[in-house]
């Protein structure tokens, strides 16, 4: 298998509301593609040249274009951006909130298997086209809709509220201490988001006092024990990255006088799918010490493929759609034993300046969660960290970084490790 390098990429400002700006899906796609190419130094002419030899393909991750903006067949829309995309093989990939990762997976596979030399991967979601309740119902289709979402307002906070309940039950935790831990997770993500100039919440207030006041008028309960402060917020956004083969990486580095050994590459990956309903997941994991056993397995697969372990990972980007999902991810990564996640939170291990920082970008809670874009956004952040381009949220001397992107209630689990 060929090594897959990452040349670079960009994301849109997740604070923007494209519906308010009166802009459409094509506008967002145009901006993220133009910015991604600009960051990598590639031109539309480069794309034409690569396409002439059938060396480039494009992969669009998107969850729900049909419902949010009445448009399917998104893989074909790069042709609206520039004529150089005429003839470029491209398609849309979908796996709920892990849509970006399934697009990445396909791109990586096509390069590592030698089919293409260059892949443009875009994750994109336009969500502010509808009100919150309607959007919540759309997102319900990422669960087993008829069983878990139909007729329920905001089904996902409730599902991840059940995860919080299950964590307390399974590990016999003190509930108030656990909720304090979740509040700390929220605060860390908001705080990290303030360092990220493209984070949705960079100007929002969050404090421990606020996060702990679950149930008051400014922090209402939305799913069991979970309140608004425990939730990531949906937003409009897109992220793009360009991946390439060793052959192209050598050409690229030679032309730009760069050292290939400093270029980040994909070291490992894991992809596991758990039973679709949350109840079946919990039933299946009853005898397992991990609450989300297939999430853990995807992490182990990635470590094995990369020949790395948790000790080698300098930072994590995780899918904190809710604070409870980040809590469960801590042990899935191997940062602590299952049931002891609180230690990593209380001892500052996962804080920005801790020994295993989680979500230096702010994660989904701090940076924002345009669902189909989040996987690519995380991957882009791994690239930025490993190449030393993360600016205000750079983790010093990062060599290896791991991301976890989940779809549904940790149904689709994707893990990538990027390093140099």
């Amino acid at each position: 298998m060929n090594r897959v390098y990452i040349i670079g990429g960009d994301q849109t400002d997740f604070e923007r509301n494209w519906h308010k700006e009166g802009k459409n899906f094509v506008g967002m796609l145009r901006e993220v593609v133009v910015d991604t190419l600009s960051r990598t130094g590639l031109s539309f002419k480069n794309i034409s040249d690569l396409n002439r030899e059938n060396r480039i393909a494009a992969f669009i991750g998107n969850f729900d274009g049909e419902q949010y903006f009445n448009q399917g067949h998104l893989g074909s829309f790069l042709t609206e951006i520039d004529d150089s995309f005429f003839g470029v093989p491209s398609a849309r990939y979908e796996a709920a909130c892990a849509s970006g990762s399934v697009a990445l997976d396909s791109a990586i596979t096509k390069i590592s298997s030698g089919v293409y030399d260059v892949s443009l991967v875009v994750g994109i979601e336009l969500m502010k086209t509808v009100d919150a309740k309607t959007g919540g119902n759309f997102l319900g289709t990422a669960a087993f809709y008829d069983k878990e979402a139909k007729g329920i307002d905001f089904p996902f906070p409730k599902i991840f509220g059940h995860l919080a309940d299950e964590i307390v039950r399974k590990y016999s935790l003190n509930e108030s201490r656990f909720l304090d831990n979740l509040a700390e997770i929220s605060c860390i993500n908001y705080e990290n988001g303030k360092k990220n100039p493209k984070a949705q919440t960079r100007n929002w207030f969050m404090g421990k006092g606020h996060a702990c006041r679950r149930g008051d008028n400014s922090n209402i309960l939305v799913g069991g024990k979970l309140a608004v402060s425990d939730c990531s917020q949906i937003t409009d956004g897109a992220a793009g990255v360009v991946l390439c083969s060793s052959r192209y990486a050598l050409e690229y580095c030679k032309y730009r006088n760069l050292e290939i050994n400093k270029m980040p590459y994909v070291k490992g990956w894991g992809h596991r799918v758990a039973p679709v309903t949350f109840r079946r997941k919990i039933e299946e994991s009853e005898d397992c010490s991990y609450i989300l056993k297939w999430t853990r397995q995807a992490v182990l697969d990635a470590y094995r493929r990369a020949s790395l372990g948790v000790d080698n990972i300098d930072l994590f980007e995780t899918h904190d759609c809710f604070t409870s999902s980040e809590y469960a991810a801590i042990s899935a990564f191997g940062v602590t034993e299952p049931g002891e996640e609180y230690k990593a939170i209380e001892n500052g291990v996962i804080a920005f300046d801790g020994i295993k920082p989680i979500n230096p970008s702010g994660g989904l809670i701090g940076c924002g969660h345009p669902v189909g874009a989040s996987g690519v956004r995380m991957f882009l952040d791994l690239y930025k960290q490993i190449s030393g381009k993360a600016g205000g949220y750079q983790v010093p001397s990062a060599m290896n970084a791991l991301m976890l992107n989940i779809g549904g209630s940790a149904t689709t689990n994707y893990v990538f490790i990027v390093g140099r």
Binding site: G22, G27, R30, E80, F205, G207, H210, R213, N219
Partner: protein, 435 residues
């Protein structure tokens, strides 16, 4: 500078007083004494402060006080922020009271939007004037992050650096240092544009006046709201106070564009001050269950139904902006030879020219004025129009063609790269709406 742990806000029941209190109590984690005329008003301002940052968790950090408590509050405070009505005599009186109780290390600032900070500081003994600044926040501060930090001749430079750092790092403000001049930078540029739009509406009264000009200078020209609709939100009386302050207290080269049209006085006298009085340049009414928009017709001095103006070039621009084709949209504008297109081009060129004239006089750099207009007004940065108009040389040519002064910042440019240079921290594209 002392660590800012205790802050007194004088005039906490004003919109700006309560909003800034919310920012200080939340991001700043400080105890805030909220001084209003009555304890009830002070309590109300605490509720308003919580609402601005959407958090009840800050309630315990705010303490309701009245002017009777001013001495005690000031003597305990690291920072005293005076945010009473925009009235020089009133602010001066308050400053005399503050001066009796503050210590040599207390920071004192005024929330003025354009009064002389130097003159206000003269209420203090000489040794305290170095601690006095203007801190001009923009409304609503939770969303609009600009704070103009105004230095007077007495302000201490090292202290201003520390205060700037505090405002930026702790209170998450975009801070621009401005000199002590009428309306400072943001309102100087913003109200020049808005008032000249008013004057244009008067000139164009036969073509429709107010709504005609607003339809031309709408969101697709790089602003959240059309300029004359903005006046209704600001308040016609406030607009008048700001432009008259600039007109009376500056020797501005565009002084004539700060003259208030007579019809604004007529509207003010009739009690039509804008949104706060239920109508100003526009009014809204429900007719048969449908909300109808009425506009003040300058020609007849009566309200009439607002019109839906349609101009081919503007429709084409909006369609291009919908799919983020910014350069193409502005090429359409540049190439259109209609009367309406020329009004827009003149307005934008004037905005660019006047903004850049602030550089070296009111603010230090071109980036400063770009930040001011984005973070304070939600308007496109002036510099980006230079790029959209085809670069420095083309913009200079256009300015000459349209009779607009060419600022030295533009004529002195050597580097022919993009003129707008803040794209990594401020994405200008969000300010161009397809509306």
């Amino acid at each position: 500078m002392n660590e800012i742990r205790i802050v007194t806000i004088i005039g906490s029941n004003g919109a700006m007083g309560s909003s800034v209190a919310g920012i200080i109590a939340s991001f700043g984690c400080a105890t805030v004494f909220m001084i209003a005329r009555t304890i009830e008003k002070a309590e109300e301002s605490i509720v308003a402060a919580m609402q601005t940052v959407r958090s009840e968790s800050i309630r315990d950090r705010m303490v309701a006080k009245t002017y009777d408590d001013l001495g005690e509050c000031v003597s305990k405070s690291d920072w005293v922020f005076e945010s009473v009505a925009e009235n020089f005599e009133l602010k001066l009186t308050i400053n005399h009271r503050i001066a009796q109780y503050c210590s040599a290390t207390t920071i004192i600032s005024t929330g003025t939007s354009g009064l002389s900070v130097k003159k206000l500081s003269e209420a203090f003994p000489l040794e305290l004037r170095s601690n006095y600044f203007g801190t001009h926040f923009y409304n609503p501060p939770y969303r609009m992050t600009l704070c103009e930090l105004v230095m007077s001749d007495y302000s201490a430079k090292p202290l201003s650096v520390e205060l700037k750092t505090y405002l930026e790092r702790i209170l998450l403000r975009k801070v621009v240092l401005v000199i002590d001049c009428p309306a400072f930078a943001g309102n100087r540029v913003g109200f020049q544009f808005i008032n000249e739009a008013l004057l244009k509406a008067e000139v164009e009264m036969n073509r429709g006046g107010v709504d005609y000009i607003d339809s031309l200078l709408g969101s697709y020209t790089g602003r959240a709201m059309p300029p004359l609709k903005t006046i209704d939100f600001v308040g016609l009386d406030i607009h008048k106070a700001i432009v008259e302050n600039v007109y009376n207290n500056s020797s501005d080269s565009l002084k004539k564009t700060f003259v208030l049209p007579k019809f604004i006085d007529e509207l003010i006298n009739a009690g039509n001050m804008g949104v706060k009085t239920g109508g100003g340049l526009y009014k809204y009414d429900m007719v048969g269950g449908v909300k109808k928009q009425y506009v003040y017709d300058i020609k007849t001095s009566q309200y009439r139904l607002a019109k839906n103006y349609s101009f081919k070039f503007a429709d084409d621009m909006k369609e291009l902006l919908q799919s983020s084709e910014y350069e193409k949209a502005y090429t359409v504008l540049l190439e259109d030879r209609s009367y309406e297109a020329s009004i827009i081009k003149h307005s934008i060129l004037r905005y660019v020219s006047y903004s850049l004239m602030m550089v070296g006089t009111v603010v230090k750099t071109k980036d400063d004025i770009d930040v001011v207009m984005m973070a304070g007004y939600n308007w496109s940065p002036p510099s980006v129009f230079v790029d959209l108009f085809g670069g420095v040389d083309n913009t200079i040519d256009l300015m000459r063609e349209y009779g607009v002064d060419t600022p030295s910042v533009l004529t002195g440019v050597v580097d022919r790269g993009p003129f707008y240079t803040l794209q990594d921290s401020f994405d200008y594209r969000r300010y161009f709406r397809s509306k």
